[in-house]
Structures are given as C-alpha cells and as structure tokens.
Amino acid sequence: MLGRANNSAVETVELVKRFGNFTAVDGVTFTVERGKIFGFLGPNGAGKTTTIRMLMGLIRPTSGMATVLGFDVVKETEEIRRRIGYMSQRFSLYNDLTVSENLNFFGGAYDVRGDRLKARKATILEMAGLKGREGELARNLSGGWRQRLALGCAIIHEPEILFLDEPTAGVDPISRREFWNLLYLFSGEGRTIFVTTHYMDEAEHCHRLSFIQNGRLVALGSPEEIKREKMHGQVLEIDCSMPDTAVQTLRATGQFGEVALYGALVHVVAENVDSYRPAIEETLIEAGLEVRGMELIAPSLEDVFIASTQGDIR
C-alpha cells in the first residue's frame, strides 16, 4: 500500500486553476513531507477547497503539476484514491444508514472486508467513542459524533494521507479539541495529514503551514518560522471602548503600521511599536474613546495572518 518511495506526500509546482475569467488558484508551489500535519490556511474563497479538489483528482488543473505520494493527480488518480482518505466540511455520511452500516459501506468501497473490517471497525468505534451506538442512524448523531464518524469512515482503510477540508466547521470547541487529539494519534502512526482551516488556533497545531490569499501563497513554513519571517515588529494590544471606532481612527492616521480588530481588543503591529504608545493613547482620547489598558504581547498566527494578507492587498 505504500506509495512510490522517496517521495513527498504532496508536491505541487505552479498549480493553476481558472474558472472562466476567474483564477481560483494562481501558481501555487509547495511540498508536504510525509508524516507531518500540514495546515492550509486562508479566508473563505481563497482557493483552499479548489486546491484540495485538484489534489484528489476531482477537478483538473488548468496548468501546473501536482503529485500525491508520487502519483500524478491527473493521470494516476486511481492509484491515489486507494491510498488517501478524505473528509469534507459537510461530513458526507449516509444519514439513513446506521453508524455500523456507514463503516461497512466505506469499508466495502475500499475493499476492507472480513476480519480486517471487523478489527478496523472496533478500533474506530473505540477511538470515536461510538461504542454501543453502532445501531444508531447517522441522522440522529449530533455534530461532534457525526464528525468523528466521518473521520472514521475516511480512515477505515488506513490511508497514507488524510485530506481534511475544514473538518471542524460548525462543531463545538470541546469536540474540536477531541477531534484534534484524534488527528495527533493518526499522525503519530507516521501518516500525513493535509488540513484546511480558517481557525488560527488550529493552525498552531500544525507542523507546517501555508497561507493562501486570492489564489496565491503568501507564506509557507512552520508556525514559528512564519511568525519570525512575516512579523516585522511587535504586537501592542489595546483595551479600549468602542474598538471598531478605535481601529478606524488609528488607521486614518496612517502612522501606526497594521491595525486590526482582535475580538473586543485592538492590535497594532509595527516595528518598535512600544514607542508609539503615547501617540496612540493621545489619538484615541482625542477621538473621545476610553483607553483601559495597553500591553506588548507575543504575536499569534492571527496577527501574522492579518499582517501578511493586508500587506498583500496593499
């Protein structure tokens, strides 16, 4: 079942996909090493799903080249499909089949049968916490359970690579954490995970990341590398009244680098941002806002992401 030896899990070279005049993916080049969790990040519509669909041979690239486990995504889709697992954001299960029937079906689709199927089912039910609920219809499971069953169906054949397209969309935080624990287990067996997400806290869990924006890669590397490379400056977190207004006011001055809303807080990112403190405070007070506090913090990926994408837009 191993793919071609000495190959990366995924490799793309100048991958392009156009739909009419619209370029969804615009010359993307990256490599995913085997056994790693690779995070593919970007806002909605950036080209994440289009890229993943090309890698699985669901759509044909307009130009460029891509291989999965050393197999060409256009010419050798059959080889690829036997070795990969895929879980979409819709958790595509059969709602009118039971937990057990769903697993049997996907097992059959991958030619997993007999004792192996029995063993795999037992492992997956245990792992997903679905033991004792084998006879329940998938329809009656709530979000977290459905998600874990969908994962189980995607890995029933022990794939080399698991592709996950926004697997935690619409799932509660506790289920998300449990889900990531399962992904670590899977990755611990030496398998590769390719995951798209727009949750930045999830991105921190990945070994390697790439940021995609308007179809182009804007950053590639480990979370630490990306923070180091892309973060020119420090982050000043401001707690003030009416943060929306504060962001607009600070941006209007054009003096303080990147300004972004972070929850109910305002983040200002710039080289030597500490020295701006008095000027920022003055500007905000002038605008009639109440400043409750300011402090320098370690940048999160979200800061990096916003900094790099805003830089891209300019």
Binding site: G57, E78, I84, Y86, S92, Y94, Y110
Partner: protein, 375 residues
Amino acid sequence: MLYRMRTLITKEFIQLFRDRLLAPFILLGPLAELLMVAWSTSQGIDHLPTAVLDMDRTGASRGLVVAMENAETFEPYQVKSMDQVTDDIDRGRALAAWVIPAGFQAQMTSATAEPPQLQLIVDGADVAAAQTAAEAGEGLAASYGHAFLVQATNAASGETASLDLSLRVWFNEELKESNFMIPSELGFIAAAISAMVASMVIARERELGTLEQLIVTPVSASQLVIGKSVMAVSLGYTLFLLMLGMVVWLFDVPMRGSLPLLMVLAFFYILVELGWGLMISAVARTQMQALLTCFLVVMIMVIFSGYAFPVDTMPPFMQSIANIFPLKHWLIIFRGILLKGAGVDVFWRELLSILVLGLFIYTGTILLMRRSRLD
C-alpha cells in the same frame, strides 16, 4: 471488485427499505392507479342512469322497459318529452336514453308495416360507458324483438317483423377500444418508475455531497451507477410483474402470447428506458430537478407514444416524431403479445427500433456523464 459491487448494491437496498414511504409508495401507487384504470375500463358497467321516452305506452313498450331493468345495464326512468331527454344527457343526469316511438307495438305485430324504429342515445364523452351501453342496447333490442315476435307468432299467424335499432352516439363519434388503457398503463409505468428512481437516487448523492465522497474512493462512477441501476430495475421489474399478474388474474385481460417472451422483452425495455433516468441524473444537481425533469420527459413520451391517443390518428409529422420514443414501439409489441398473441416475427421491426434508440440513449448518457464528472 465483486465485493465492492455487492457493498454498493446492499447499501441501495438498505436505503430503499429504510425509507418507510418510498418503496410502498412506488409499488402501491402505480398498482392503485392501474387498478382504477382497469376497473373503470374493463369491468362490467351496469345500472347506467337511463332516460326512457315512451311515446307508445303499450304492452310491448312496457315489456321493453322491463327487459332493460332485467338486463341490469340500464337503470331506466320515465321522462315526458324529447327536450327532457336532451337536457338530462347534457347535464349528465342520464348516460343513455331510449326513445320508443308511437305505434311501436302496432308496427311490431303488423306484418306489412316498416320494422319498428327504436332510438338509443348514449353519452359518448364517457367512452367506456358509451360502448357498454351501445353493445348492451343492440343485444337487448335483438333478443327482445326475437322473444316478442315468437310470442306474437304463437298468438296470431305466421307473420314476422324485426326490430330496427338506430344507434346514436353523441359527443364522440368514434369509440376507442376499451381495453386500450390497460396495456398502456402497464407497459409504461414500470419503465418510467425505474428511470425516475435511478435519476433521483443518483441526484440525491450529489445533493448530499456523498457523491464527491464516493468519487474520491476507488469506487468508479460506473460502479456507482450500476449499483443504483440494479436497485431501480429490480423495483421497476417487480412492479411490472405485480401489475401483469393483477390485470391477467383480476381483470381477465387476455394473455394470448408467450409469457416468457413478454417477461424477457419487458426487462429489456425497462433497461432501455432506464437510460433516460441516468441521462437526467448526469445533469440534475438536486433530487427536485431530477424529479421535475423526469416528469417533463414522461409527459412528452406519453403524448407521442400512443399511450392515451392512438398514434395513427396523429398528423403525419407528429407520427414521425413518435418514432423516436421507445415507448411507442414497446406499446405495439406489448399490445401485440397480450391481445393478439403476436411473436417476434410480427414485431421484429419495433424490437429493432427499440434497440437502436437504446444505443442512442446510452451513448448520450455516457457522454453527458463523462462531461459532468470532471468540471
């Protein structure tokens, strides 16, 4: 490969039977419809409300009314004028009317006079009732005239006279064959159901996103389609056998030809029409789209194929269009086997047409499916 096919087919049947409404609805709906069509067209029609305008008022005319009551086809009641006859038929209060002329008895018993003229008016808008009334009326007039004459001859001398019935069918001058609808219904529904079910179950996978999930597994699109087709055809063929059994045993529709031949050809025909369903499924994004497109195709098929109106009565241009629908040829074959006891030697041209059309349908289907798979 075989294990994968078995998995795919098993799943379709689990889903079919898990849906408490779908299978019963698909099987019982057409059976109920056929039951109603068969009942209303083939079953004995009796107790038709019948207006009787008796202008003779003699023993002979009253005897005729009693004969009507005894025959049970007619439920006679007396009216006073011709206007009332017209009015009752117009309003649907009467489906038939007898007009007995003055001098009816005198003419019957006289050897020299013209044969007595009776008039039977039937409402041709209701084809089945009209035909039954007309046939029963002719029989009634003949047997009553004969019995009366025998009595009269015994009583008097040896002179004879016959009864002359003039039959008028109103609203629809050409009566159609009353058994026409049953083979149509039976020949067509099973295939339409197979096509519809196949297109809907494929569209359902697409709508729910499971199709994409399946395509990234080693399951090929053709395996998926075959798995679903096996289920759809089993369902349609079961329905066909149930309906055939029902009309032959319950309604005494003649089964004059070879039953094995009919069963083999019906299976072949269902496979051909299934192609339509698969073609639609290659285009439809949702179940609703698939269902509505199927309805559209079925409507057009029904109009052109002699399902409700004989193809021979259509304008020549329309007749040539009718040839591109397999249903048209199939109805000829089906009626041929069922009613006339025909064999392949009689309808080989129709069979060949279905085969050729089937090749066209499946070529189109495969092309459309290829196109819709990538992009």
